[in-house]
Symmetry: C2
Subunit: 249 residues, 2 copies
């Protein structure tokens, strides 16, 4: 077998995890052929690993033959610390904000060089967003992302700038110097804005949830239709974020 | 190595998954020695598999040297179908119920022969329960469990009876015949009760969330202090469950 090393156990582990890695928010259900193609594994290997994962409960087979993540992995995932204390502290505040605004409410944490959405509340009346629980957002183009970035170390901004700030809309800040200035403003005011920088027709405002050590644990944000809407909602989102930080200890 | 078969790949996969399996609600953080002991693996094997999982992001190391589930597994787990559509449909109703009652609100699905809690809302004022998201409850002793059991096939009751109905309190129904009669009552009324059958000093009421095919998808429950409280709340929980079923399609 090509690529097989002298420690076959490691290789098998990596292959098994590679099968899990092919599933994401954009690809929640895949055929065997798709799993093999996306993981770079031979079909026979992918089939065997899928069977292992199905027997364990980590994958389920749909009636149309596709596979998706099973409840066993969900159950294990609930043990991750990010989701437990923080989310439970945040949910009551998020529902208060939702009741007061009827807009999209998002709770995100820093995950690598992106913002990971760990909770959201929305309704049919709110501005449509593609953000789902478990989905990722760019740090430089979103309110929650800027709130996380502003209170993280300078190295993170450096590595984002080195990788290039992707232009999402004509309003996205793509110059590192301009972004650094915007982040200094966020640190001063305690709130971060995005005016159509991620999606045309949508604006967002967010506030950091800081830990006792001063580090940023999460960011709470609202996505609404207009700049004037999010400007008006800034005090509410900041108040809620401070409440969550106090409650989460 | 003892127990090694002629298909080492399968064995490695099973060992890797066995490492994940040792973590649960009661054991969210474990030392290397504990992981080895609980999985039945040699310490050297457990160490190697933990390293693989850490490199991937599935496990994290705490400052005290213990390991816990990482955000990578949480992210993948959010793709499980049980948590996506159903939970999003249910959350607004659960918050309405919570606002109206200030009691524990639980959403559960059938998982094997137990009820798995996939969402809960609670407060300091509510009666204390040990139920956590990702935690499991016995079917025969809880409101949500009886609601799931009453609308499942007869085989499930049979296998529960064969395994024995564990006595949780002096009020637990442990005779299969009495349980079957109680379940018939649940099917008639559309609500299921538990009066101190799970925990002394706590009562619960629950209603099934049925799918378009008539099968039970989930159960919505309230845990409160007294029998009179849950009797009064039965119409509210049933109404919310019907609303969720309609919304979830």
């Amino acid at each position: 077998m090509a690529g097989r090393t002298s420690t076959p156990g490691q290789t098998v582990s990596r292959r098994l995890l590679a099968v899990l890695d092919v599933f994401d928010v954009a690809h929640p259900a895949l055929t065997l052929t798709e799993v093999a193609a996306r993981s770079g594994l031979p079909v026979s290997t992918a089939r065997r690993l899928i069977t292992e994962l199905r027997n364990w409960g980590g994958l389920e087979r749909l009636d149309d033959g596709r596979y998706r993540i099973g409840i066993r992995l969900w159950t294990i995932g609930t043990l991750a610390p990010q989701q437990r204390g923080l989310r439970e502290a945040a949910l009551p505040y998020m529902h208060d904000l939702f009741q007061a605004t009827q807009e999209n409410i998002q709770l995100t944490v820093l995950e690598g060089t992106q913002a990971l959405c760990i909770e959201k509340i929305s309704s049919n009346k709110a501005v449509p967003t593609q953000t789902q629980i478990g989905g990722r957002l760019p740090l430089h183009a979103t309110g929650v992302g800027k709130a996380l970035l502003a209170f993280s170390g300078k190295e993170l901004l450096g590595s984002l700038a080195a990788a290039g700030l992707t232009r999402m809309t004509p309003h996205t800040i793509t110059q590192p110097g301009r972004l650094a200035a915007a982040l200094a403003e966020v640190r001063k005011s305690g709130v971060a804005y995005s005016y159509e920088e991620m999606t045309l027709g949508a604006a967002s405002v967010a506030a950091p949830i800081l830990g006792l050590d001063g580090g940023v644990r999460a960011a709470l944000g609202i996505v609404a239709h207009s700049r004037s809407a999010v400007d008006r909602l800034a005090p509410a989102v900041r108040t809620a974020a401070l409440g969550i930080a106090r409650w989460a200890g």
